[in-house]
């Protein structure tokens, strides 16, 4: 979806402000939000891509006005409601009012290591890769209303295949419940001028990791 989460290239947000000696969490509740999201993610109730999409679906003004972990908390509430794990009445009451449907698995204290190791999203390729390193491609000018990982700034722009990264689970499909539909993934590099016009830094290049359906020969 074309949303405000797709921030690449927007003006007006001011300078980056690094925080010296930044703590891992700015308040204990941030750590709990992270842990709750990770623990629920582990249950298999939803996928990583569904969870990303749920953040993008927050109202634009909420997205921009909320802190990072506030967005994670709001996203978690939405997913729990959507998947029927928690009722709105329970959120209002602040306690469980009934048993919920069973989950495929839950995380125990002894199993924490499992959420600290990342799983692979590589899958056996259904076909040979369409593009190879050095080939010129164009990122398609597509505007799916659902989750996609092709940022707007790259759409319609010409780049070069720099690397083939393997065949990966396709987020656009997973997030709409259409299964993994694995796709070849490529690192595609663009010149700054191709992306931003003649006034761009001539010595800047930008790469994205693009799934094969995002690309066409150029």
């Amino acid at each position: 979806m074309n949303g405000v989460h797709d921030l690449g290239g927007l003006h007006g947000f001011g300078p980056v402000e690094p925080e010296p000696d930044e703590p891992v969490f700015h308040a204990p509740w941030e750590g709990r939000v992270l842990a709750l999201n990770r623990a629920l993610g582990f249950t298999g109730a939803w996928t990583l891509d569904t969870a990303r999409a749920a953040i993008e679906e927050l109202p634009a003004r909420v997205y921009l006005a909320s802190s990072y972990y506030e967005r994670w908390a709001l996203r978690l509430e939405r997913l729990l409601l959507r998947y029927g794990l928690v009722g709105a009445d329970e959120l209002a009451a602040g306690r469980a009012l009934r048993a919920g449907p069973p989950l495929p698995r839950t995380l125990t204290a002894g199993g924490v290591g499992a959420v600290l190791a990342r799983g692979s999203v590589e899958r056996p390729p259904p076909a040979a890769a369409r593009f190879g390193p050095g080939e010129r491609v164009r990122a398609k000018n597509i505007h799916p209303p659902t989750h996609t990982r092709l940022p707007r700034y790259a759409r319609g722009r010409r780049g070069l295949i720099e690397a083939v990264r393997g065949c990966h689970v396709f987020p656009d499909a997973v997030a709409t419940g259409a299964g993994e539909q694995p796709q070849w993934l490529y690192t595609v590099v663009f010149s700054g001028r191709e992306l931003w016009g003649e006034d761009a830094d001539p010595a800047a290049t930008v790469s994205i990791d693009a799934f094969e359906p995002y690309l066409e020969p150029a």
Partner: protein
Amino acid sequence: MPQRVRALEAILAQKGYVDPAALDGIVAAHEHEVGPQIGARVVARAWTDPPFRRALLADATAAVDALGVARGACPHLIAVENTARRHNLVVCTLCSCYPWDLLGLPPEWYKSAPYRSRAVLDPRGVLADFGLALPAEREVRVWDSTAEVRYLVLPLRPAGTAGWDEAALAALVTRDSMIGTGLARRPPDGAR
């Protein structure tokens, strides 16, 4: 928000969906275990061990796993090397993708709109926000982490560190130098 999150945790625990002790474990791991010291060890090893450096650039996941410094590196990890001709900068414009298994959780600025919006449009301007001015002719390559590949920047080894051991070198490797918003620290004058 603290109350709201507390209530949410209580509901989920009452339903048996989460175990508060497991949550404690996740928080503790991020506060005390996972952090940029892991990436720093990888970088310091690459600076001192040419075969490891080659292995890291060829297959970062396997090289990091073999080093045994992380619980398990991202299966799609790529190390990108800074050189005199190219400086690398990592961003996630769409959300907050980050090699947290090697660097810990990303800092606020990495997840915030100013960085995510400008890193791809005006990378040299972003570097200036960090006090970093590179020669105009040096390529700045921005890596937008739009899929599950994670990028670790291998910074340039600072001058004046010939003969330093791995542990001393690791102390020069900052988190920002592995994102690309900084350089590795220069050794203090007395240490040269």
